[in-house]
């Protein structure tokens, strides 16, 4: 390697003489980093999403390869966030791919000291039975003056602020038809 080549290989030389005066691109590249490919380039597809944490609503781009989320980053097109994400938004790939995520149904019997497994369809069927039974046991047709109540105060729900509008719509619609009034979310808290 000649002296000239050697000097031209220095990042500081490239930064001072090249097209990258801030040293954040070509000037900072090494042989190793030149050979790297961004996960965003090799992804099978990208979905345009929104950060799930606070209510600023930063745009996210979610990159997927081989059925796995490989990268989540800020959407530079967003007029709200201009491509930025905070520490939480930046960690959201870790959120969705975390090994701590519980991905199967867990069931705790009355008086049990441990969890056990349960099939999802069975769980849904059991929950439906319990909703019907709780409604049955606590149903109020009318008050003492005969005015209609059409309700149960035996069933309650809390949550919605982290969910989609479409989900909240179905939750409220179903519970209202069931006569369940005590439907609440973080907006009350």
């Amino acid at each position: 390697m000649g002296v000239k080549t050697f000097i031209q290989g220095w990042p500081v030389y490239r930064q001072l003489t090249g097209t990258d005066p801030l040293g954040r691109g070509a000037a900072a590249q090494s042989a190793r980093s030149a050979a790297l490919t961004a996960r965003t380039e090799t992804a099978d597809h990208m979905a345009r999403s929104v950060c799930p944490y606070c209510a600023v609503g930063c745009g996210q781009r979610v990159f997927v390869k081989d059925g796995q989320v490989t990268q989540i980053e800020g959407d530079p097109d967003s007029p709200i966030s201009r491509g930025r994400l905070c520490p939480k938004g930046s960690a959201s790939k870790n959120l969705v791919t975390s090994p701590l995520r519980q991905t199967t149904v867990r069931y705790r019997r009355p008086y049990a000291t441990e969890w056990e497994d349960l099939d999802l369809d069975t769980a849904l069927d059991m929950i439906a039975d319990r909703v019907i039974a709780a409604r049955e046991a606590t149903w109020e047709d009318a008050d003492e003056d005969g005015r209609p109540l059409n309700r149960t105060l035996g069933i309650a729900s809390l949550g919605g602020a982290t969910l989609d509008n479409e989900e909240n719509y179905l939750i409220k619609k179903l519970f209202t038809a069931l006569g369940a009034l005590q439907i609440e979310n973080q907006a009350r808290i």
Binding site: P87, R109, A133, A161, E166, L181
Partner: protein
């Protein structure tokens, strides 16, 4: 804002670079303070005194934007001669009834309207959080009012405000808030100097403001300032709420809230809304001005969306199917009912009340007394494991072998594993594309509730009982796709938007909603999000390819309008107040409103329009009635009806405070909602005795690196690493007084619980000197619990339950406690410690009995 909404804060920094002055008011010096021009430490719970000081400064120096105030606010409106102020009654307004601890609001009305408007039973309105339904509009008043355009009449709103805030002087601000006089005046000068024709100022609050027993009145005080200074409806102005969850705005608009139906229509009340017409008239208030005159169409179209073919004009669209409220069915009352064994089953949907709600012990004991609990979450959170791993298991208050509650943990899909819209804090809906399928048993809420409903309907299909008709007649036929039969979120969005029943054509505007059953509208304020059959919330035109309003990114309710009440950005004649602050204006040549945004006014109604005598509804709005959802078309400096705690904000001390109210004999908000349940208690405040038992003020908030109750952050390794431990920030002075060591341990005790935390000694906390006495405040993050990668005690365990009377939100930003060095005791000794404090503080009642719901037989 830099802490909890960092990416939103970039715009504050952008403004600062352009010369804006940034003020930060907070009990603790944060990352926001570090970037602000001026930081003002404040005693937690005294914001009305501070903001009232600004109102006083504006009025005393006649710095209001007079032309705006006269045209667009109710400053000139004359109030009933029956009205008496807190200045006359030592902290009460006229009409207080000590029996119900609520106001008869008759005397607060505009002159001449005493008999025609207002609420008869304020305590009943409090129980149903009636204030919340006014999120999208004002409160009923008659459209015709008496005015004095000179603002000299002693009972005009302007003069009432002057008198009400006369004692909120800089000296009083200093005495009450602990903010030095000079700093207060710097804020007051900057705010007023940067408002007017050429400039606008903005007030930004994080929703910790709502977590006070006077939370609604905090925001009211801010609104008064912004109206007086002409900062509403104009670019760079406003009162901006920074909400804390991705779609908490959406879950208020399409409410999973007990007292609301979609679009802020009230859930019917048993005695007040007997018939469909009663209900509709209670919303539209015949005779008042504004767009709520369409309430019959909004109501009929919602019921049509719920009950489809079964809903007809002849049966009042199945209005009779709706459940009826009789009082407080809010989350705190419900939890107390759980403890008492009255609630059988509970769903938790991405929420962790064991950590995130006030009075954690009450939350966990409530869950321990259910028949069954369904938890839907990404992770195993504290609310799913209360029976196994909680402070009460440690103390023996919950014994797994004796706890009956059956728990189902059903895994949820993450935000990238389903499609749908979030509504962010500016009312902007953004559609998320689905990136991939959820793993294993994880499913969306859409899937879970659609199929739960389907199965329940199948099981009840043979029923001919009256009570099951609403379930069986429900319009519940959403198209599904994929191997798990996932319902179509877009089909649900189309129903939310609304469509013509006969043709299926999506509606473009809520003005197309009909009251004859020919339209379906799931949430009228969202109509337009699916206009022309296009998912407008999915629009992603780059910010580089459109102007700064960015109207083609997502969709904002209502009508894709980005600034509400933007008619006020033009003067009464329809001209921009200034070239610099031009936004929406009247184009005389084309005879229509135009501008950068969708005008918040009838497009072709000229500024000169004056309604005919006796006109109401939309027709009743004059060409300069900029506040089109208000019953009189005006922005309200004074609220004649509908707020529980008064027509003007008044400084009350928090429910727990070491300080006697410096302004009034009345110590705390006299209308605050209090629960007498034995599990609940309130630490004593002056003039009560034993206030020395809990001498310190504690306040709580968020860290950048964690999220609310920690369910989405303590489980995430990167975030856990950044903020690994529960801690308490203490000033060097207090650390010295108590013998606390930096990085050592301390424990904090209230009448409810004792928790421990590592000590961070820092001058980010300032001891406040008030009236010659020093008040110490400490700060803690509220993210910690017992599950996840990083764990710690939950500070919400320290709080009791006291609620704002307007919206039933708890006071969980300020409380009193004692602090001791070292770790807390465990087991029975922990209970003994709290009991000792309770005894010394004279708190009545004991710990609640453990009620196990009536299990007939203990199963093997």
């Amino acid at each position: 804002m830099a802490e909890a909404h960092p990416v939103g804060f970039q715009w504050v920094m952008e403004a600062k670079l352009r010369g804006a002055k940034v003020f930060h008011v907070d009990p603790r010096f944060t990352r926001t303070s570090a970037l602000a021009d001026t930081y003002l430490p404040i005693r937690a719970g005294t914001d009305i005194a501070l903001l009232g000081g600004i109102v006083h400064y504006i009025l005393d120096n006649q710095l209001d934007f007079r032309e705006y105030v006269l045209a667009y606010t109710n400053a000139a409106t004359i109030v009933s001669e029956e009205f008496a102020d807190t200045e006359d009654l030592d902290g009460f307004f006229s009409g207080y009834d000590p029996g119900t601890e609520a106001y008869n609001q008759r005397s607060w009305q505009y002159a001449g309207q005493e008999d025609t408007t207002g609420y008869r039973a304020a305590h009943e309105e409090r129980d149903v959080a009636a204030g919340l339904r006014h999120e999208s509009h004002g409160i009923p008043v008659g459209g015709q009012v008496q005015r004095d355009e000179t603002l000299q009449h002693p009972r005009c709103v302007y003069q009432l405000l002057r008198r009400h805030f006369a004692r909120y002087t800089p000296e009083m601000v200093e005495r009450t808030c602990g903010i030095p006089r000079e700093k207060f005046l710097e804020l007051a000068r900057a705010w007023t100097e940067n408002s007017g024709r050429e400039r606008t100022g903005v007030l930004i609050y994080s929703v910790g403001w709502t977590q006070h027993s006077v939370g609604v009145q905090y925001i009211r005080t801010g609104a008064i300032i912004q109206l007086l200074l002409g900062n509403m409806g104009r670019p760079g102005g406003g009162v901006l709420a920074l909400r804390g969850h991705a779609s908490i705005q959406g879950s208020t608009d399409i409410p999973t809230l007990f007292n609301l139906l979609p679009g802020y229509l009230p859930m019917p009340h048993c005695t007040h809304h007997t018939t469909f017409t009663d209900w509709v008239d209670a919303i539209r208030h015949p005779g008042q001005k504004g767009f709520w005159s369409g309430a019959r169409a909004f109501g009929a179209s919602l019921l049509k969306a719920y009950w489809g073919d079964a809903a007809t004009p002849e049966n009042d669209f199945c209005y009779g199917y709706l459940p009826r409220m009789t009082g407080d069915h809010g989350t705190y009352q419900t939890v107390l009912n759980m403890i008492d064994g009255k609630v059988k089953g509970y769903f938790l949907l991405g929420q962790n009340p064991a950590v995130g709600s006030a009075h954690g012990k009450a939350q966990r004991l409530g869950m321990a007394n259910l028949d069954w609990l369904v938890v839907r979450d990404l992770f195993m959170i504290e609310s799913a494991t209360f029976w196994q791993n909680s402070p009460e298991v440690e103390t023996g208050e919950i014994v797994p072998e004796e706890c009956r509650t059956e728990v189902f943990f059903i895994p949820a899909a993450s935000h990238v594993e389903k499609e749908g819209t979030f509504t962010q804090t500016q009312r902007l809906l953004q559609w998320r594309e689905k990136a991939l399928d959820p793993p294993a048993d994880a499913r969306s809420e859409l899937w879970f509730f659609f199929h739960l409903g389907r199965i329940i309907r199948e099981k009840l299909a043979a029923s001919d009982r009256h009570r099951d008709r609403p379930v069986l007649d429900l319009a519940w036929d959403y198209p599904t796709h994929g191997e798990h039969a996932e319902p179509s979120a877009e089909a649900v969005l189309k129903e939310i938007n609304g469509y013509e029943v006969a043709t299926g054509r999506p509606l473009s505007a809520f003005t197309e909603a009909k009251d004859d059953g020919s339209t379906v509208v799931g949430c009228w304020i969202y109509t337009g999000v699916y206009a022309d059959g296009v998912n407008q919330a999915a629009r992603r035109k780059s910010r580089h390819d459109q102007d700064w309003v960015a109207a083609e990114w997502g969709w904002a309710w209502p009508a894709n309008r980005r600034i509400l009440y933007n008619r006020a950005s033009a003067d009464p004649d329809g001209r921009p107040w200034s070239e610099r602050k031009k936004y929406v204006w009247w184009d005389a040549d084309r005879a229509e409103w135009t501008g950068y945004d969708v005008p918040d006014f009838e497009k072709t109604k000229p500024p000169t329009y004056r309604p005919p005598e006796g006109a109401s509804g939309v027709q009743g709005l004059a060409g300069d009635d900029a506040f089109i959802m208000q019953g009189d078309g005006k922005g309200w400096l004074y609220v004649p009806s509908g707020l529980q705690d008064g027509p003007m904000p008044t400084h009350y001390e928090p429910a727990e405070s070491p300080i006697r109210n410096p302004l009034y004999g009345q110590q705390a908000n006299p209308t605050r909602k209090v629960y007498g349940h034995p599990v609940n208690s309130v630490n004593p405040s002056p003039p009560q005795s034993h206030t020395d038992v809990f001498p310190y003020v504690f306040t709580v908030s968020r860290l950048t690196e964690h999220h609310t109750a920690g369910g989405m952050s303590r489980m995430v390794s990167r975030l856990a690493e950044l903020q690994p431990e529960m801690f308490v920030e203490v000033s060097p002075e207090l650390a010295g007084e108590l013998g606390l060591d930096h990085l050592g341990w301390a424990h904090l005790i209230s009448g409810r619980a004792a928790i421990e935390a590592r000590v961070l000694v820092t001058d980010r906390l300032t001891p406040l000197r008030l009236d010659g006495r020093v008040v110490h405040q400490v700060w803690l993050p509220y993210h910690f619990g017992r599950e996840g990668i990083v764990t710690g005690d939950s500070v919400n365990d320290l709080f009791g339950i006291t609620l704002d009377p307007n919206v039933l939100i708890q006071e969980s930003k300020v409380g009193t406690c004692d602090i001791r060095p070292g770790r807390r005791p465990t087991g029975a000794a922990l209970l003994a410690l709290v009991d000792d404090y309770r005894r010394r503080a004279g708190l009545t009642g004991g710990r609640p009995p453990i009620v196990t719901t009536d299990a007939p037989e203990r199963e093997g």
